[in-house]
Structures are given as C-alpha cells and as structure tokens.
C-alpha cells in the first residue's frame, strides 16, 4: 500500500517534471520561431498595423471611456478655474 503511494509519487515526479520540461522547452523553440516569423512578416508595415488597429478601435462601438474623459476634463477645468 505504502509502496504504491511512493511509486505513485515517483511516477508523478518523473512524468510531471518531464512534461513541464518538454512543454516549456518546446515553447522556447516555438516562441523564438514565432518572433522571427512575425517580425519578418510585419516589418514592412509596422506603422500601418498600428494605424489600422487604432482605426479599428475608433470604429468599435462604444469604444470611448466617457468617465475617464470626464475626469480629465474635470481635473483640467478645476485647475484652470483655480489658477
């Protein structure tokens, strides 16, 4: 019984650490590859991408945070009225 528990623990250690290492090592490779590929693909149009996505955001429904804007405005108004 006890030895089963120990052997289960050993199995967990072996296969567990094995999987963690295998997975993260693979992720190192895939991340490196991904960075190379992505940067090569996007390199010619970095400005475009940003611009597009900003347009995208503006196009999105309800994309402005009205409260934040009000806060900023209030801060500025208050400041101006004091100075």
């Amino acid at each position: 019984m006890d030895s089963t528990l120990i052997s289960q623990g050993l199995d967990l250690m072996l296969y567990g650490m094995g999987t963690v290492f295998a997975f993260l090592t693979l992720l190192v490779g895939i991340t490196t590859l991904m960075s190379v590929v992505v940067n090569k693909l996007v390199i010619d149009q970095p400005e475009t991408t940003v611009a597009t996505s900003q347009v995208a955001q503006e196009k999105g429904q309800h994309s402005i945070e009205p409260r934040i804007i009000k806060v900023i405005q209030a801060a500025l108004d208050q400041h101006r009225s004091k100075s």
Binding site: L12, Y15, G16, M17, V28, G60
Partner: protein
C-alpha cells in the same frame, strides 16, 4: 424569561467551541500579518476575515439552504456557503482571477529572451519533490496523505495562489484552507526565504554577471504569443487549458489594443470583485476540524521546503545553462522562476544590486518570473490528469 434563555442559548459565548475560538484567533493573526506585515494583503485580508466569519458560532455563514418537499426555499443558506459553492467548488473564481492576472502580465521580457522559460520550468522541481516528501511522510507513518492530497500540497511550491486554489478545490477540497494560507504566506515570505539560498548557491562573480540589454519586442509578437501558447496547450496538454486558456485570453485582451475597455475592467473591477469573494470563500474552509490538526503543520513544513527547492532548482538551472550557452545568464534570476510575481523578481534585483550596484536585474528576472506562472499551470494540468487516473 424564556426569551432571556433563548438569547443566551443562541449567543456566541454559550455556543462557542474551543476550536472555533482558536480559529478566530488564527483569522486575526492572518489579518495582523496582512495589515501590519504586508503579507499578500489582497488575499489574506479577505481570507482572514472569512476565517473569523466562518467560525462565529451560530451565525450560519456556512449553512446550506433548506428546501421543503415542494422545492421551495425554507431558509436561505449563508453568504460563505453560496460563495464557496458558486465560485470555488466550480473553479470559476480562480479562472477569472487568472484572466485578470493575464491582463496584468507583460510578456515582453520573456519574449525578448525566451530561454528564460527553462528557468521557469526548473523551479517547478519544488512542486514534485514536495509531492514525494508528502507521500514519504505517509510511508514512514508520520502523517497520512493520499496521492491527491500530496499533489495539492506540492502545488504550494508553484508560488501561485489561484493555481493552488484551483488544483486543491479539484483534488483535495478539505485541505483548501491550509494550502491557500500556506501558498500566500510563503509568497509573502519570498524576500526572507530566497536570499540565503541564492547566496549559498552562487559565487560573488556569478552574482555580478551583467546581462545584455533586452531587445524591444514588437506589438505583433505580443499579440501572437498568447495565441501560440494557447494552441500549444490545446494540442498537448488540455488539462492545463482552463488555467492557461483564461490567462492567455486576459493577456490577448491586454495586448491586442482594440478592447482596452474590456482589459481595463478585467484588471480592475472584475479581478477586485472576484478577489474579495475568493478570499472569503477560502476562509469558509478554515474550520477547526480541517485546520487544527497535524496535517496542517505538515503542509506548512512541506510548503516551505517546496519553495526552497524551487528556488535552488531555478538558480542551478541558470548555472547549467551558462555551461552550454555563450549568452551568460545571471543565476540570481533563476530564483524568480518560482513565480510569486513580482516579488521574486524584485528579490533577484536586490541581491544583484548588492553584488554590483550598477547591475539592474529586474527586467531580466521578469522573464523567468512569468515563465514560472506558465510552468506551474502546466504542472497543475499534468497532476490533475495523472492523479485522476491513479
């Protein structure tokens, strides 16, 4: 007169059992540690308070609702009952927290230096050695842990609160209180636990190693990374998909730049609300019969060991990498692989500055730091998979 008796009989003093009293003191101690010593207050304040509430005799915070034969509610359940069963037993709260943590995580340093992922892998050794330690305690007849309980104890070494809560609520819900408290306490103790180990395993020369400045990371990489990670998890390790999937979702919302209002809410209102209720719900499991026993002491000891081994493994892995790679890594950042974001990274930075006041390791340590989050989520997935089949 009957009413006086009724009031007295239902008073806390008349009903109080010694266990409840001790647990209320435990709750107050957690609050003291959180408020006065700064131990992970965002979680330990709600956990500590929840502990007190759950142990108020006769208040019924933990009571299940009662239905009559027709299915109508006769008496409602307690607040902590609903929180625990709706949010923790189902796993929903840890997953939402993981989404929020993802939305707060900057993968930039990791993307600039992907091999630091290996440091995050190495630090998970602490998890699995601790599992072995827990079953060994059983073998020598000292304490009695099942394999499911041993796995839950090990995950303390992942230094990641929501991961520990997620795994424990699935594998060993009775230990939830002890394990969550141990996990968050040791994360708070990182600045005390780690430095001696880091100094013992490194030479002054190693601690002075200067690392190359990190390259800038493009927005496209930041967007594609969480998706790559998600696909890899989906292909290889579906058991880790709930945790890592929500983590990647939060990070994608952060980085994609087109849903900033969703990302802001995830990082603020949503994660704060869920944190409050997660803490209270964990506290509801802090009952005397589940916490005041030798097992809890064993959990605390094993948890500390897990942190130490994880730290050592991270540092040693960095030294091993230096023997094969020409881009040298300062071994101090290996200790950040246990996660405990961002404290472990700050500790690495501080010890680095002691050795060389011009050597800023913070950004370099953030890579293994977030890698440790991924690593422990992967370990959690493997354990849930393997243990369920045992």
């Amino acid at each position: 007169m009957d009413n006086l008796i009724s009031l007295w009989v239902s008073s806390g003093l008349a009903q109080m059992q010694s266990g409840q009293l001790i647990m209320m003191i435990v709750g107050l101690t957690l609050l003291f540690l959180a408020i006065n010593k700064g131990f992970e207050p965002l979680l330990l304040v709600p956990i500590g308070f929840g502990t007190i509430l759950a142990n108020v005799p006769g208040a019924g915070f933990d009571a299940a609702p009662v239905y009559d034969a027709m299915g109508h509610l006769e008496s409602p359940g307690g607040l902590l009952y609903y929180i625990y069963h709706a949010g923790i037993e189902t796993g929903l709260f840890p997953l939402v927290i993981f989404m929020g943590v993802g939305a707060m995580t900057d993968f930039g340093p990791l993307l600039a230096n992907p091999k630091t992922l290996l440091l995050g892998a190495a630090a998970q050794v602490g998890i699995f050695t601790t599992v072995l330690g827990a079953v060994a305690l059983g073998h020598f007849g000292i304490l009695d842990f099942s394999i499911r309980e041993a796995a839950s104890i090990g995950i303390i070494g992942g230094a990641d609160g929501p991961t520990a809560i997620f795994v424990t609520s699935k594998l060993a819900p009775d230990l939830l209180g002890a394990i969550a408290v141990a996990a968050y306490s040791y994360m708070a103790l990182v600045p005390i636990i780690q430095p001696p180990i880091m100094r013992a395993l490194t030479t002054p020369a190693e601690r002075q190693i200067k690392m190359e400045q990190l390259r800038p990371v493009s927005r496209a990489e930041r967007i594609v990374f969480p998706l790559s990670l998600l696909v890899l998890v989906a292909m290889l390790l579906p058991d880790a998909a709930p945790l890592l999937g929500m983590f990647c979702f939060g990070n994608l919302m952060r980085e994609c730049g087109v849903v900033n209002r969703l990302s802001d809410t995830t990082q603020n209102a949503l994660i704060n609300i869920v944190t409050i209720f997660l803490g209270l719900g964990v506290g509801s499991k802090m009952s005397a019969e589940k916490f005041l026993n030798p097992e809890t002491m064993g959990i605390l000891v094993l948890g500390a060991i897990a942190f130490c081994i994880g730290t050592a493994a991270g540092v040693l892995m960095a030294k091993l990498m230096n023997t094969v790679s020409k881009h040298k890594v300062n071994p101090l950042i290996g200790a950040a692989g246990v996660s405990a974001v961002p404290m472990a990274a700050r500790v690495a930075n501080k010890i680095g500055l002691e050795a060389n006041s011009q050597n800023f390791l913070l950004m370099h340590a953030m890579g293994p730091n977030v890698a440790g989050v991924i690593g422990s989520a992967v370990a959690a997935g493997v354990m849930i998979n393997l243990v369920s089949g045992m």
